[in-house]
Symmetry: C2
Subunit: 203 residues, 2 copies
């Protein structure tokens, strides 16, 4: 399983504040939509064993599960509509029980650290590995991909100090994607390719 | 200079047929918009020495030049509006003289082969190199990036037979991106990273 956590700092939690005619105006929701698409879609198909988690305003986490998604298209407006549906269903998420939004889409009442702890439950020998994308990490080409990686990315903002601390505490590995600062969605495409090729060893 | 040519088979040439409320309905224009963004944008910046050329219906080629672009945002709607502006200016393109659409955006009355021949003018020792993305090509990790590459990608459709022939005739190199069939925009992100890292040698 590959998992991508994308932290959205500025997306509103109120679905009425999300206009499909001004997706960037909703806290750069356009970027988040492209992250979902880069995470789950192949050309003419959908990936297997991938989940993308959008953490909105440290309050809600919206999960897209590629294995059970239905009727999602890769354009921003279609994904944004699904995110708005998720925010609209927030009242159905009680405690740590998710709200079922539509097939393959759930919303949980969890912020960054609760989501990381949930995903990393069972981390260890054969469990999930938090991989930090960091400028001081190992170049991708020199790193062996873990079998069950969890990557965490930020939107157009830098990680907040407490997010940075939460990552540093939980990260088992650090990798470096390249010399340029990429958008989160472009980073997801690069990381997928690294994993698809077994760390550039198997084309 | 890095150049990406993306062949759009189904995008209408009539700007009135492009609705910003249904971008995918305009021949999957959403994918083309994401190709432009993946081509020219970095996080909080724009790349240097990159051009993205969209060939629309083998009739027009719309060029985005990262070095002179102004006021473009990476969301699909913003890029789609610029493409619609370009189609709207088509009457100003006479012969092979471009129509100036807005800073960094031009439209030429050229189809696939005329565009390839224009971009490859001067190909040879120090000139541009057409690099074909092909499942039988060399794995990216084993290939040295050329200094002045031109990549050609197709939209959601396969290359047409005559396009495939035109590429095969002009391609100096073949590279293989990976085992999965990726969307064109995701491929651009992978190729940029390959070039950014000097063929995965320089992080």
């Amino acid at each position: 399983m590959r998992q991508f956590v994308v932290i959205a700092h500025d997306v509103p939690t109120d679905p009425d504040a999300v206009s499909l005619s001004d997706i960037p105006g909703a806290g750069r929701l356009d970027l988040l939509c492209r992250c979902v698409s880069a995470g789950v879609f192949l050309s003419h198909g959908i990936r297997e064993q991938v989940r993308v988690h959008l953490v909105v305003a440290d309050a809600f986490t919206i999960t897209f599960d590629a294995d059970t998604l239905r009727h999602l298209h890769p354009d921003e407006r279609n994904v944004a509509a699904r995110i708005r549906d998720a925010l609209d269903a927030a009242d159905d998420a009680i405690g740590h029980m998710p709200a079922d939004v539509s097939p393959g889409v759930e919303l949980r009442r969890m912020g960054v650290t609760a989501t990381l702890d949930r995903l990393l439950d069972g981390a260890g020998a054969a469990g999930p590995t938090l991989v930090q994308l960091h400028e001081d990490g190992d170049p991708l080409v020199d790193a062996a991909p873990p079998s069950d990686p969890v990557f965490v990315l930020s939107d157009h903002n830098d990680f907040a100090p407490d997010e940075r601390d939460a990552l540093a505490e939980r990260a088992e590995r650090r990798v470096r994607v390249g010399p340029k600062r990429l958008h989160a969605d472009h980073t997801i495409s690069v990381v997928h390719n690294w994993l698809d090729t077994g760390g550039y060893a198997d084309y």
